[in-house]
């Protein structure tokens, strides 16, 4: 729902990092996005194409590595993936659950020329 602002940040970071590396073109941006972060990759690419126009990031491909939600039981420390809408530990049935992966939202690396 707020992909526009997110994409603005992606463009700004990509341009700054490419400048630092004295590159003249950004070819690909590798992003890591958690399943729970709630961002739609297609939507980010759509905004990216328009926001990066006339910059060194124009035409860059966005590559998304999606991180599935991973949960951890606070009771018995079992690591598991949610199978159900209610988060419960498959081993001890506890509902005291920590989100251990799935909120990621960062630029991992870039390919530049």
């Amino acid at each position: 729902m707020h992909e526009f602002g997110i994409t603005e940040n992606i463009v700004n970071i990509a341009i700054a990092k490419a400048d630092e590396a004295q590159a003249s073109k950004v070819v690909q941006i590798n992003l890591v996005v958690g399943e729970m972060a709630g961002f739609v990759p297609d939507c980010i690419q759509f905004y990216f194409d328009s926001l990066s126009k006339d910059t060194i990031a124009q035409g860059a491909m966005l590559h998304f590595e999606l991180v599935p939600t991973q949960l951890r039981c606070r009771n018995c420390s079992t690591i598991f993936q949610p199978q159900d809408t209610i988060w419960a530990c498959p081993k001890c049935r506890s509902q005291s659950i920590e989100l251990s992966k799935g909120r990621e939202l960062y630029i991992e690396s870039m390919e530049v020329e």
């Binding site: 707020h2 940040n9 590159a23 988060w87 690396s109």
Partner: protein, 223 residues
């Protein structure tokens, strides 16, 4: 072609401004609360109750975030020391307040005269959970007509909450809301969160909320 390592949080720009906002609030010893919920759960009603019950003890400022209108700002202006309305309609994002929207609003508030800042976020259970504003505590309100499944459907906002309010308790006889199941779901996601059951309409349960706020502000700083 060469590969460069970046590892940079995409939300960092927001977080940097949020930290700056919090530093400013700390300098002036203002305790700030970010109030989040779906539309209609009672954010404005909670602010009105808080103002009515605490205006004799604390100087309170309110920031109202809405996509459009000044309806909420008008409702609270009589009891607040300062009210700022932020309309997100013309901003890059309209689904949530962001730290950069708060920054200019803070300049319009006489922070030296304020003890408590209540920030009413845009009604939404998804986007506001991603954007820190510079607040000290995050509050989520769920109201009985919404159903008891909100922590299951929107876990992130509950995971980050310092307190969760169950509002509209006066409607309990008329709706199927399982308080125990709701509490269990919140406690499972976030064992630290305080849970309050109250009705902003009847005032039931407000006293405990009032004491909690007073204790929070006191632990922050005494002017």
């Amino acid at each position: 072609m060469k590969r460069i390592e970046v590892i940079q949080n995409i939300l960092e720009a927001n977080e940097t401004v949020a930290r700056r906002n919090q530093q400013l609030l700390n300098v002036h010893r203002v305790f700030a609360i970010n109030i989040m919920s779906s539309p209609g759960a009672g954010k404005t009603s909670l602010i009105q109750q808080t103002l009515t019950n605490l205006k004799d003890r604390l100087n309170i400022a309110v920031i109202e975030g809405d996509v459009a209108s000044t309806v909420d700002a008008e409702k609270v202006q009589n009891n607040a020391k300062a009210v700022i309305q932020i309309n997100t309609r013309n901003m890059p994002e309209s689904c949530s307040l962001m730290a950069a929207m708060l920054e200019p609003a803070l300049k319009d508030i006489p922070l030296d005269d304020i003890d408590l800042l209540l920030i009413e976020n845009v009604g939404n259970l998804i986007c506001p959970s991603e954007f820190a504003l510079g607040e000290h505590k995050r509050i989520v309100i769920s109201s009985l007509p919404e159903g008891d499944d909100k922590p299951i459907k929107y876990p992130l906002i509950f995971i980050d909450a310092n307190a969760v309010i169950i509002n509209k308790m006066d409607l309990l006889p008329y709706v199927d809301f399982d308080i125990a199941a709701f509490r269990r779901a919140v406690a499972g996601l976030n064992p630290e969160a305080e849970i309050f059951e109250l009705s902003c309409k009847t005032g039931e349960g407000i006293e405990r909320w009032r004491s909690w706020i007073l204790a929070q502000v006191k632990s922050n700083a005494i002017k």
